[in-house]
Symmetry: C2
Subunit: 272 residues, 2 copies
């Protein structure tokens, strides 16, 4: 199957323009699955809750999800894209999955980064894995990468390809994704944005370098830091089914969960 | 405090000679904590269970543990070293911790690599953390690195420094330890061996490049691939207490264990 990413530089608040940018970039590209960046139609450097509340949309039903679904229908592909979600009084940093038949599902970022904590409610649903027929895809968003439990959870739930919309400003993630894919034997598509946002006296520079990573930790493709482009690579998702690394070791079978203290401390819900 | 590693090339089966090599290398080095490689007094490329059964020792009480304890007493330091353990009918790939007062504790490798599965029993105890007064140290061995749960468990249990005896033959671990330390905000000392072992028609080349890694994922020191030496670096273990990476994010507080599927599948004890 052909998987890839769309790396570009959204303009803050200009949803229609950003949708057109993404649609134009994707153009006539042939792909089965494309990942777009985090908050890819609103921009990222939010300066007030009011501001992002005005831009956030319902999922499904909002303008962005509708536009993405229309694009997925026309291109006969699946799209994963980050967007600001409004649900009742809550705002979420979410990612939606759409396909040729329309809306499929979405994920609300579990681990909010930095000032996202001022605007968004932390995710209150599971890390999801969707069976698309040709492959099983999981979704996580940006900062989720630093918690090994996120990718592990997706892989244990059967994800072959981890879709990873991002707005990365630190230099660690791209290399760390080699470890994430190696330890879980999965593919990942990290779709990062480019450019600099300057708003309200603040500034953020995004690192680009979107990356398609393979189950042996190999970088299948890493984009330039400032390129605006779509990159598609052909992969065999079945490779992610094989957790064996030699005749004696299978990375999932060899786990010893009875000795892991993963749930033992620092539970955010206090239910120790 | 001063932490470091001893990188050298043990000769298979020559326990007395290997002990002397380690003692000579450590010489008059001033350190608070030194880590030696996996199976550092027996060699690694085992060709029969009988062979390693003859070389394995009880912990505590065996010749190697006694020699290490004597060295720790003379040098007024703590030592972590990998050795083959015999306990009843079982053999374990273990690591012992000794200090100026003698034997403190040991760990039995939970995740056996490749043909280790032919000779050793998988570890049947916890990933341990020991409070040495000046610092809290955790122990894991070699291939444990690829399971993010191992380092995570040690960090959640309070380890500030992860002692990591290794006999690495693949090229992935050293870079991955940057991610392990970054995601857990801990120090790690990966003590690898050097050289080539050729026995029974088989051959293994060890990659050296022992590494001291810091809680921001920084490589404090990485050894050459073939150097035989002791390296000691001064660190402040208290840095590992701070899991906050900015005013909004604390990597332990931000965990969302209620959404992690870490225990949900592939339990090796079949208690799903």
């Amino acid at each position: 199957m052909r998987i890839g990413y769309v790396q570009y530089n959204p303009s803050f608040g200009e949803v229609d323009r950003n949708i057109k940018t993404a649609v134009d970039l994707i153009g006539s590209v042939r792909a089965d699955l494309l990942v777009l960046p985090e908050l890819c139609m609103t921009g990222y450097l939010i300066t007030s809750r009011h501001e992002i509340a005005d831009l956030a949309e319902e999922i499904p039903g909002g303008k962005t999800t509708e536009a993405l679904a229309e694009l997925a229908r026309k291109r006969s592909c699946f799209l994963v894209a980050g967007l600001a979600e409004r649900s009742g009084d809550n705002l979420y940093n979410s990612a939606v999955l759409v396909g040729p038949e329309g809306y499929i599902g979405h994920y609300r970022k579990l681990h909010l980064f930095f000032e996202e904590n001022l605007w968004f409610t932390p995710g209150d649903g599971d890390l999801p894995v969707f069976d698309l027929g040709t492959t099983r895809v999981g979704i996580m968003i940006c900062f989720d990468w630093i918690f090994p439990e996120a990718t592990r959870t997706l892989a244990l739930k059967g994800a072959q390809v981890v879709c990873h919309p991002a707005n990365l400003v630190l230099p660690f993630c791209q290399d760390a994704m080699k470890t994430r894919c190696l330890e879980n034997r999965v593919f990942a598509v990290t779709a990062n944005r480019t450019g600099v946002e300057e708003r309200g006296g603040k500034s953020l520079s995004y690192t680009g370098m979107s990356q398609i990573t393979g189950p042996e930790g190999e970088i299948i493709h890493r984009c330039g830091g400032e390129d605006v482009k779509v990159v598609v690579e052909k992969i065999d998702p079945v490779r992610a089914e094989n957790k064996a690394i030699n005749e004696y070791n299978d990375l999932f079978r060899d786990r010893r969960p009875e000795y892991y203290a993963m749930l033992a401390k620092k539970r955010s819900n206090g239910n120790d």
